[in-house]
């Protein structure tokens, strides 16, 4: 059995700052992390491997420094890391990204065996589009199962998988045929800690590194900026609200503060006051 997990190295968005004057991102010192949603996918893949045996390959596309994220994935216990990197990929939107990744996946399949499952995270925290997974599925002609919260069971010999999928207003229980692409929801999965042995293997490992030509991309206009139908024309900071919160002052007692706050709320939003009273009248 062979499972591939697509992971992305992203800037830790909690630590991103915007330059107050130029409105550009100040990248200085912003650490990178593995997209948190991808870790849930990785954990799910490792669990499947622990149950059914087989191999987990981790694939990432990014600058050479993205190799760090592969090393980390190996520490968790993944068996192999593949880095897809090429300056032609710079500026890829989701369509170009899913194209490049799908080409790499074809090569992964050719070299290491056809994966029964390709996992991606639900979405990234930088791109935040949730489009790359579906894009890969379409290009590989894999069945697509998004927002999967649980793998109910998998029959790798019979080529059948059953999952729970988060839908609007409820949970779908779906059955599909392998191979599938699964985008993993944040599950209740706790990420494991790799053993000392895993950590040592990871520290020694050399990521397999491929560029566009290696994965058989001949038409470079399908990559990077040129291969991206979407065009970012403008980046700007959200207009800050000019007035700050009006601070409610009250005498020291807590009850006094509560009353003052409610007065202020009702004064600002008489409609809310009416609604509440109406609702209260109905209730009793």
């Amino acid at each position: 059995m062979h499972i591939v997990v697509c992971i992305k190295q992203v800037p830790d968005s909690a630590q991103i700052r915007v330059h107050p004057v130029t409105n550009t991102i100040m990248r200085q010192g912003v650490p990178t992390i593995i997209n948190p949603y991808d870790l849930f996918a990785l954990e799910e893949a490792l669990r499947l491997r622990d149950t059914f045996g087989g191999v987990v390959t981790v694939l990432t596309m990014g600058p050479p420094t993205a190799a760090e994220s592969l090393r980390k994935a190996l520490t968790f216990g993944a068996d192999r890391g593949v880095l897809l990197t090429d300056r032609y990929f710079a500026g890829s939107d989701t369509l170009a990204t899913s194209f490049a990744l799908s080409m790499a996946l074809k090569k992964v399949a050719a070299e290491f065996g056809q994966p029964e499952i390709v996992f991606t995270g639900k979405q990234t925290i930088d791109g935040d589009t949730a489009q790359v997974g579906p894009g890969i599925a379409k290009r590989l002609n894999y069945n697509q199962l998004t927002y999967v919260s649980k793998i109910v069971d998998a029959d790798f010999a019979g080529g059948v998988i059953r999952v729970e999928r988060r839908a609007e207003g409820g949970t779908q229980v779906l059955q599909s045929r392998l191979p599938v692409l699964i985008t993993m929801l944040e599950a209740t999965n706790e990420m494991r800690r790799g053993s000392v042995e895993n950590a040592l293997i990871a520290a020694r490992a050399q990521a397999i590194t491929w560029n566009a030509a290696d994965v058989g991309i001949e038409d470079l206009t399908k990559c990077g900026l040129r291969g991206s139908p979407t065009i970012v024309k403008k980046v700007f900071a959200p207009t800050a609200r000019t007035e700050k919160a009006v601070l409610v002052e009250a005498d020291g007692s807590t009850d006094g503060m509560a009353d003052a706050l409610i007065d202020a709320i009702f004064e600002r939003a008489p409609a809310v006051e009416e609604d509440l009273f109406e609702q209260a009248a109905r209730q009793y």
Partner: protein
């Protein structure tokens, strides 16, 4: 195939400046080195914003300037003595510091350590991250032969373990090699990073290009406790912080955070930080016990370097250079023994201490061995009375109010005499000024 059956020439615990220096030097000489860091990467646990002294690093990586993440080279040093409303300052600025190979830089530790650690890996050492060494493994004779970590699996073996674990020295303690760190030998420093556009920083501090300024401050800002405040200019940020001896914090009611808030709102500091965006509040210990607080530095199969060995010159705010130097010297000791196929016994590793005696590290720490006690013993004066006196004197002198200069001089001296309780005040001040240079 159990990977852990192999034996490393050396394991380095920690990837701060001392651990990185030790691991780099050994790996470069072809030793089979494993470095273990508990943080997500080297620098991830380290407080940001610091001064890098070029010399110590030059001896390890001569061409570090080519790619190390350096913020600004320091061209101006300000020493401020502060009371609640004023500061009396000494500024030293020299174009000599705009030299080809500048002497001091401001750095952000998170980035610098990461860079240094990448060099360690390039040199051929293996590095494990997010792995905490929990204790040392000893054989029946008490020789340290490896480490245990918080990951499952077997212990990892090595001929020698270099403890570069920083000020707390927990591994050393847990393994019975040393005592707990005494609260009166460590300072607790709190600091923040304040982001500002580089043009603003340059305008406020009168800098151009990559020039940088540093302010070291003492006085009533520490509310009578032994300690100092500081402010460093980075490329697009300012590091500001304040630190005091831990036992003083324990005795006083003041919280470190409140102290930093007060320092930041001091009328001399506030305008420098105006409109900045604060990010990263962090607290860290600094060993300040000096020479007298240095623990046992080596034993059978182990060596201590950097902050774990209390190698900080508190008076000059030097730490990372002592850390790198002790790391390098430890590495050289281990390399020499490994080459000669000698065992890593306490007797052989004593060479580390002998080599250190020849370096500035031990010479400086010995020179200042009395200072921590002096400052701590007279903290009321040094961190309260004297700064106030100086401020009053300055104010009296500079305020033009119809009082003649002669009377002013008299008033100043009267003031000094009245407040002065110990005749040694001038002596103290002299020692202090000399120590701070």
């Amino acid at each position: 195939m159990a990977m852990t059956e192999e034996k490393f020439d050396a394991i380095v615990v920690g990837a701060g400046p001392s651990g990185n220096a030790a691991a780099y030097v050994m790996a470069k000489e072809g030793l089979n080195v494993l470095q273990i860091e508990r943080g997500e990467y080297s620098g991830s646990k380290n407080v940001q914003g610091a001064i890098l002294y070029s010399d110590a690093l030059e001896q390890i990586i001569p061409d570090f300037r080519e790619d190390a993440p350096l913020e600004r080279h320091v061209t101006e040093q300000r020493m401020w003595m502060m009371d609640d409303k004023s500061h009396t300052g000494m500024h030293y600025r020299s174009d000599d510091f705009n030299e080809e190979k500048p002497n001091r830089y401001t750095i952000l530790r998170a980035q610098f350590d990461k860079w240094f650690n990448a060099k360690v890996r390039e040199a051929g050492a293996l590095v494990l991250y997010e792995t905490t060494v929990t204790e040392l493994v000893k054989d029946l004779k008490g020789q340290v032969v490896g480490v245990r970590t918080d990951r499952s699996g077997s212990p990892i073996m090595a001929n020698v373990v270099i403890l570069a674990e920083g000020v707390n020295g927990l591994v050393g303690q847990r393994s019975g090699l040393r005592d707990e760190v005494a609260p009166d030998t460590v300072a607790l420093a709190v600091k923040e990073m304040h982001f500002l556009p580089r043009e603003t920083i340059e305008a406020r501090f009168n800098l151009s290009g990559n020039e940088g300024a540093v302010i070291e401050a003492m006085g009533t800002i520490t509310k009578g406790m032994t300690g100092t405040g500081f402010l460093y200019t980075n490329e697009e940020s300012i590091s500001v912080g304040i630190g005091c001896i831990v036992s003083d914090f324990a005795d006083s009611e003041v919280t470190p955070y409140a102290l930093l808030e007060a320092f930041k709102s001091h009328p001399s500091i506030k305008p420098l930080l105006a409109d900045s965006e604060c990010k990263e509040y962090a607290a860290h210990l600094i060993p300040e016990g000096g020479y007298k607080a240095i623990p046992q530095l080596y034993g059978n199969g182990w060596i201590v370097v950097g902050d774990a060995g209390q190698f900080v010159n508190a008076v000059h705010r030097e730490g990372s250079n002592l850390a790198m130097t002790t790391g390098r010297v430890a590495a050289e000791t281990v390399i020499a023994l490994t080459r000669k196929r000698e065992e890593m016994s306490a007797a052989n590793l004593a060479d580390y201490a002998r080599r250190l005696e020849q370096t500035f590290v031990m010479k400086d720490l010995k020179k200042y061995k009395g200072i921590p006690a002096l400052l701590h013993g007279n903290k009321r004066n040094f961190f309260g009375t004297y700064p106030q006196l100086v401020s009053q004197a300055m104010q009296t002198w500079f305020r033009v109010d119809g009082v003649d200069k002669k009377s002013k001089e008299k008033a100043i001296f009267r003031n000094f005499r009245e407040t002065r309780t110990i005749f040694g005040m001038l002596g103290d001040a002299f020692k202090l000024v000399r120590a701070w240079r």
